[in-house]
Amino acid sequence: MRYLFRASSLALVAVAGLAVQPAFAETPGEIQASIQQEADGTPGFQEFSAARGEVFFRTKHANDWSCASCHSENPAAPGKHAKTGKAIDPLAPSANAERFTSPKKVAKWFRRNCNDVLDRVCTPQEKGDVLAYLLTVKK
């Protein structure tokens, strides 16, 4: 009986654990950690810098676009697609809890947007710097 009780309470804990699992797959911190892992192996890697990330975010690159062209100069504010005009939710995690919580989405948008803005892929250093900057932006 006692054994049965323990087994059923264990099952209950397991089910409850599933139920309270956060809606997001990962936290921005965990995403940053995996970018860090990627960056560690690259030559010339320096600690991520929010200041460098902010410059990168605001600078126009190869295609006359910057990150800010669509995500606005203030990443805690809503942006607007430079071409279609469609509204874009804020990019800073402080203003939009969904940001940087899905590794799949992060990979997809860095791939697309770096290609559009820089005409190439971003280095792990650049990605980590930008995320470091975005994490400092207050709502």
Binding site: H81, K83, T84, K86, K108, R111, R112, N113, N115, D116
Partner: protein, 174 residues
């Protein structure tokens, strides 16, 4: 025979004559819109009752999720094969998302319009040009920053996302 009856028969005769002349054409094309829009016919572009979550999410990130019925299947296949250069932007998807969305688009594509050239722009179709020419719309409307581009359907068609372009619902922004 009264004058009224004579008039009726005269109209009937003219109608029968007109039918005999137009019948062969009408049989070849069961819709008079075909002639009006060249060889194209847009059909009804309403969003299908059963939508697809990935289509909804992925295709509405940067613009409205254009209804599959707005383009023929050949066009959608071509579109999905070139997403890395999608009207000047990289809109690439992973293989699984791409496969599922392509299947949804092709299944619900316009089945009344098959253009051999597989156009990618909805605005390139004859019916679009005809419905939006200078005679129908003041050219100044296109210059309005709220309209921005002819691809921005919802600027004037509030139900565009549903694939509903009913003329009675049109609201031109000021």
């Amino acid at each position: 025979m009264s004058i009224k009856d004579q008039k009726f028969f005269r109209i009937l005769a003219v109608a029968l004559l007109a039918m005999s002349v137009t019948m062969p054409a009408a049989q070849a094309d069961d819709d008079d819109h075909d002639e009006k829009y060249g060889s194209e016919n847009r059909g009804k572009p309403l969003q299908p009752a059963q939508t697809n979550a990935r289509f909804q999410q992925e295709c509405s990130s940067c613009h409205i999720a254009y209804a599959p019925g707005l383009l023929p299947a050949k066009s959608w296949r071509k579109m999905m094969a070139g997403l890395d250069r999608h009207f000047g932007s990289d809109a690439s998807l992973d293989a699984e998302d791409s496969r599922e969305i392509t299947a949804f688009l092709v299944k619900n594509a316009s089945n009344r319009w098959s253009a051999p050239t597989a156009p990618l722009r909805i605005t390139d179709s004859n019916w679009f040009k005809r419905k939006h020419d200078d005679h129908e719309i003041n050219p100044a409307v296109w210059k309005n920053p709220k309209v921005k581009s002819p691809a921005n359907c919802s600027a004037c068609h509030p139900q565009a996302e549903r694939g509903d372009f009913n003329e009675h619902d049109i609201r031109m922004p000021r």
